[in-house]
Symmetry: C2
Subunit: 218 residues, 2 copies
């Protein structure tokens, strides 16, 4: 896969040593995230809405919960910035200044396109569903025409994209090593907890295996 | 605490039953989050950057990693939208359409102010540090003048704010209860993992107690 070409907007200026333009690494971050933050401009002012997404090859589909607000004022070619962030650890330096976090984030710029064709809407819904729960699309009841009409999805090409990654321990000043406080990293991660059936699961249906949620399988 | 008054921007239109304007509940979401997504407009186009933040009473301080980009073009009164999202569960309905997530999110609109006074910069740094690691500010080496000069922080009043919360199981269509697939909720949460010292921890310093990271203590 070819790496992303930095543009004026995606060239990382602050701490450029953390920049990642490698497509495989960017996609692995996108595939591990489960919420994106969609930014767009309404009457000259910024709006940032969290929503579900899914990746299909070299584009992502963004769920319409964000689109509804955008679509009131904009019909097509919506200028968006979509950001996905994973936090991997808390970094405890010996100074306040070197307190930090380990993270992986992806920033995507582009013009989102409203998905209107039936087949592509199905693909978008499949993408959202299987992004969070691999294989779920294939086992649930498929969308009706009415549901498809009520679904809004945007497609955004993965062209103008960058990632930023921080890993490792604190980068303390040499002279702070004498300061008597613990320093290092506390890893953090998302895990699954209780699995709670609703009140209508049919007899004989096995309990859902939470290990299928690959986001949490690390 | 007085609730937030909905404005044109913060009145939740989509699924208004999920709207929360209660100040205590909004603050509890902000206090539990550990990364915010800051949206701003550069040359008419949206930019969304993840960064650290802290709350101090009725305002939040946003870390300068986002500010640096904004500050290239804007000196003061920066129009921002700051969003914090916590994911609490994956909601498995019996249809693709009713696949969902449980979440809590806060959206803040306003004009961010660059923090310039020494005392307030210290307060902002204290706020970032203790937001992630309660009590850490009091045990680490305090900032030097040089570090303060290198720190950029923005202050944003908590005035135009709303939250949106989804809880509970899937809301399936009655006729789908006969569909033979498991349905319910898989809770997800962030937890701490390995605690890894850097190579310079002094003898006799106790290992950091990860339970202090209250974000992960649920």
């Amino acid at each position: 896969m070819s790496p992303f070409t930095p543009t004026d907007r995606t060239r990382v200026k602050r701490r450029p040593q953390r920049a990642v333009y490698d497509r495989a690494q960017v996609y692995s971050i996108l595939d591990e995230g489960y919420v994106c933050h969609v930014g767009f401009v309404v009457e000259g002012r910024p709006v940032v809405i969290p929503t579900a997404y899914g990746r299909a090859g070299d584009q992502i589909y963004i769920h319409g919960s964000a689109a509804s607000r955008m679509l009131r004022s904009l019909a097509e070619g919506i200028d968006v910035c979509v950001t996905v962030t994973l936090v991997d650890g808390v970094v405890l330096g010996r100074s306040a200044f070197h307190t930090s976090m380990n993270y992986r984030s992806v920033v995507i710029f582009g013009n989102a396109r409203l998905v209107t064709e039936r087949e592509e809407k199905l693909e978008a819904l499949r993408s959202f569903t299987n992004h969070v729960i691999p294989g779920r699309w294939e086992e649930v009841r498929q969308p009706t025409d009415q549901e498809l009409a009520a679904t809004t999805a945007l497609a955004l090409p993965l062209e103008e994209v960058s990632a930023k990654v921080r890993t490792g321990g604190p980068i303390d000043d040499e002279e702070d090593y004498a300061f008597p406080v613990w320093a290092g990293v506390v890893a953090v991660r998302a895990v699954t907890g209780e699995v709670t059936p609703d009140g209508h699961v049919l007899p004989g249906i096995p309990v859902f295996d939470a290990a299928r949620l690959k986001r949490f399988a690390r």
